[in-house]
């Protein structure tokens, strides 16, 4: 793109810094034999915050002759400017249109970004459906957590990486090169890709439906496996990390050095997809983390380091790591943040030390209001755990706590919903029972209740989501009960977005048609309230002869064929069934570090080191 064209586009948009690139540590390769466009179907501030993309950017640019360049979904003002100027969407590194790339890869972090994938393809003159793309078109691939049910976007993608991408993406690029060197056709290329463990080639599978809906899905090409098995990076400590982290000019959502202390979680919360699809737990050593912290702070100039994982309080070396990293970072005036703490982690001293550097809010996620409900979802924390954690926080100088809850959980009664208000009331009372001179001033409890969304590959994958009217009733019930609790405010969200999320997280291939219909009706950035068009979505479902209710609100039978049944995330379906049955009986499952619960079954038992330790 010409400099002058770019400037004219930039003059027309609200936040030009989203599109200029030039961030410190950006990798520009003028010469490359293979260009990979790493696309994030959300706005720059969110995409730039994604750790997985940072890792892949580093890994791919580390390959000889490969140029990995970034592209984010253009905000509506830039989309309009590009359309009006007749200019294609471009990457930040070399400002090339996506069409000029050999491979275009999308990160799938959230189902409600799927319409943005279509916008990005359309602005690049690339047909949506893989079947409509000829040999001259880039290979379109995807990966990320949503790929564990790839079906709603399967018809758009040539290949999808299931699971950890560090190794699989490299193999995919190498296979692409080998195929091109051998002068192969696209089908031959796809056959090569289908043989890579963890790579799913949707066009090699056929799905069948009857009047009731989904019947089955099976391979149609001899090179495609019956089940695509999730890739698992075995050695996290030895794996490449982010290299030199990009330093954005504008403020992004997670604007700091992020260190991945571990991948996976042993807790086994039954609603939590991440808890299942990132198993087993793999940790980085304290030494590696300290080294990465020093390097990243030096090459970015950031003044904050965040210790990232699904549950950082469970990191086995945390009590060794924290004092040392805080000590080293304090000398450089860098603060350390712990974003994912469970209320049952014992961290009072650490909290006090962190307070001395910078004050930030504390967030706890009890998820449910009664012990009965927390047992159902296997959130193994008690009221005492939460109250103790809040007391520690109040006495350590924090007066602001955020409490996250869900409503609409399987088997939830009104008593469980009201239990949320009871719990918040207890936190408030606890605060006022503490001596005035010892507690932090100005209590602020921010309680929020999101709507439960059943996710594939979890113990609740068969569950019906509550209908919107029921959710609204529960929201009102809770909102009334929250009134008058001192120092507390309550937030909840409109529920139709969660309905769509439920539909797309457990959808089948027929939903690709719905996505196109919705895109054509102007649906973009659906998780942003100013862009969300519920009516357009209803019309899009209707245009395809489908209903969102069927996908979101139907209870599935155990043993029923599931649209994601050909994706094997290594946690067995039998294990999930057992967990579902235990949930319904209110029986908890202990943390698997206390003893193996057998979630991987026999075939993959050796993938996991946790139980043996």
């Amino acid at each position: 793109m010409k400099q002058e064209t770019l400037h004219q586009l930039l003059n027309r948009v609200e936040k030009p810094a989203r599109y200029i690139g030039g961030e410190y540590n950006m990798v520009v390769k003028e010469q490359a034999d293979l260009r990979f466009a790493l696309c994030f179907p959300d706005v720059y501030e969110i995409g730039m915050s994604h750790l997985g993309s940072r890792i892949l950017y580093h890994v791919l640019n580390g390959m000889e002759g490969v140029s990995c360049e970034r592209c984010y979904a253009p905000w509506s003002d830039m989309e309009a400017a590009l359309r009006e100027a007749g200019e294609p969407l471009f990457t930040l590194e070399t400002r090339r249109p996506l069409k000029d790339f050999e491979i275009v890869g999308f990160s799938l972090l959230y189902e409600m970004c799927y319409t943005n994938i279509l916008t990005m393809l359309e602005l690049s003159g690339i047909p949506f459906f893989s079947r409509d793309r000829g040999e001259d078109m880039p290979l379109i691939v995807a990966g990320g957590p949503c790929a564990v049910n790839p079906e709603p976007i399967a018809d758009f993608m040539d290949a999808i990486v299931i699971g950890d991408g560090e190794e699989a993406e490299v193999e995919l690029v190498e296979a692409y090169r080998a195929s091109r060197a051998a002068g192969e056709t696209k089908t031959q290329l796809l056959e090569r890709l289908a043989k890579i463990p963890g790579v799913y080639v949707p066009s090699f599978y056929a799905a069948e439906y009857d009047e009731q809906g989904f019947v089955c899905i099976h391979p149609t090409n001899p090179n495609a496996p019956e089940k695509v098995v999730r890739r698992i990076l075995k050695d996290l400590d030895g794996a490449p990390f982010v290299g030199k982290q990009l330093v954005p000019h504008m403020q992004i959502v997670h604007d700091r050095v992020a260190l991945e202390v571990m991948r996976g979680c042993t807790r086994g919360c039954r609603f939590c997809q991440a808890g299942y699809i990132y198993r087993p737990v793999r940790e980085r050593s304290k030494e590696t983390l300290l080294e990465q912290a020093e390097e990243l702070v030096a090459c970015t100039g950031y003044d904050e380091v965040s210790l990232l994982s699904l549950s950082t309080g469970d990191y086995s070396a945390l009590h060794d790591l924290l004092p040392e990293i805080m000590d080293r970072m304090e000398k450089k005036r860098v603060s350390v943040a712990l974003p994912s703490l469970r209320v049952d982690s014992l961290l009072k001293e650490e909290l006090e030390k962190m307070q001395s550097i910078r004050k930030a809010g504390l967030t706890f996620a009890p998820e449910a209001g009664t012990q009965r409900m927390r047992d159902v979802i296997n959130k193994n924390v008690t009221e005492q755990d939460l109250l103790r954690a809040c007391e520690d926080a109040f006495l350590s100088g924090w007066a602001g706590v955020k409490l996250y809850f869900m409503i609409g959980l399987p088997g939830e009664t009104d008593e469980d919903v009201l239990g949320i208000a009871e719990l918040v009331k207890k936190v408030s009372r606890l605060y006022f029972s503490l001596p005035k001179e010892q507690r932090a001033k100005g209590l602020r409890i921010t309680a929020s209740a999101s709507t439960f969304v059943p996710k594939p590959h979890t113990a609740f994958q068969w569950c019906a989501q509550n209908e919107p009217e029921e959710i609204r009733r529960k929201q009102r019930l809770l909102s009334d009960a929250m009134r008058g609790i001192r120092g507390a405010e309550f937030h909840y969200h409109p529920s139709f977005l969660s309905v769509l999320e439920a539909a797309f997280s457990r959808g089948d291939r027929r939903l690709s048609g719905v996505l196109v219909e919705a895109h054509n009706r102007g649906c973009r950035f659906d998780s942003w309230s100013e862009h969300f068009k519920p009516d357009a979505w209803q019309e899009a479902f209707a245009a395809c002869g489908l209903t969102v209710e069927e996908y979101a609100h139907r209870q599935r039978a155990l043993g029923e064929a599931l649209p994601w049944g050909h994706i094997d995330v290594v946690v067995t379906e039998r294990y999930l069934q057992k967990e579902y049955e235990k949930a319904m009986a209110g029986i908890t499952t202990p943390d698997c570090r206390q003893g193996c619960n057998g979630c991987f079954g026999r075939a993959y038992a050796d993938y996991c080191q946790t139980a043996r330790a």
């Binding site: 003059n11 030009p16 810094a17 200029i20 410190y24 330093v247 000019h249 970015t300 950031y302």
Partner: protein
């Protein structure tokens, strides 16, 4: 010690907002491992300040800033170390030790010189451009609309803030103008408004590009001031 230096913002770096620029420079100073002095209090921040804010989209060869250090660094060393870690499109020059007794650069700021590239639709001759410029310069009042913080539009006379302006020539489709405008802590000549007025007088529409060339200060030894020719 305290160092004053000049930051240049070229090409895409022009599209950074003033806040982006402050954040970016702070991180660059940290990457350069400068011995930064920090403010006291709950959220300590490096003691660093720009003389003025630059509009988003403007290039600059004249953004002055000052920064306090806890150890001595030679101006030469300061420039070299910072230039090694600045993002593409940014560099510093003219580093010097701040004179004793200076409170803030902003407080001393008086004016700034700009190059304005004005592209008007239609066939506009240099004579027409000259005429439009003369009309602005000979008026005692040139009213433009200014958006207040609350979003309301209020009339504003930009003429007193326009100190000098002359047509330099043409650069492709654009007319090139050299403009000297008032610039103080309280505000200054708005170049977008001036460009708007000129297009208005030409009876045309179009767009402009702008670069701040220099800043002028009342009484800071070593920095450019009006009428003393330090400009060169």
């Amino acid at each position: 010690m305290r160092i004053i230096a000049k930051l240049h913002e070229h090409e895409q770096a022009a599209f950074l907002s003033h806040l982006d620029m402050q954040r970016s420079l702070q991180r660059s100073l940290r990457r350069a491992d400068m011995p930064l002095a920090y403010s006291q209090g709950f959220n300590p921040h490096p003691l660093m300040a720009f003389a003025g804010a630059l509009s988003t989209g403007f290039e600059s060869d004249g953004e002055y800033f000052d920064v306090r250090l806890t150890e001595d660094v030679t101006p030469r060393d300061f420039e070299d170390r910072l230039n090694a870690v600045l993002s593409p499109g940014l560099f510093v020059s003219n580093a010097m030790q701040a004179p004793e007794g200076l409170s803030t650069l902003t407080g001393q700021l008086q004016a700034a010189r700009y190059t304005l590239w004005l592209t008007a639709e239609g066939e506009i001759t240099p004579e027409q451009m000259e005429a439009a410029l003369d009309r602005v310069l000979s008026a005692s009042e040139v009213t433009v609309q200014k958006r207040t913080k609350s979003g309301a539009m209020v009339p504003q006379n930009l003429r007193p803030q326009l100190l000098q302006a002359r047509l330099l020539g043409r650069d492709g489709a654009a007319f090139t103008l050299d403009v000297l405008g008032e610039l103080t802590a309280g505000g200054g000549l708005r170049m977008d408004a001036l460009a708007g007025v000129l297009l208005d007088f030409l009876g045309s529409k179009g767009f402009f590009r702008c670069r701040r060339e220099e800043m002028y200060f009342a009484d800071v030894p070593g920095l450019p001031s009006l009428g003393k020719g330090n400009d060169e």
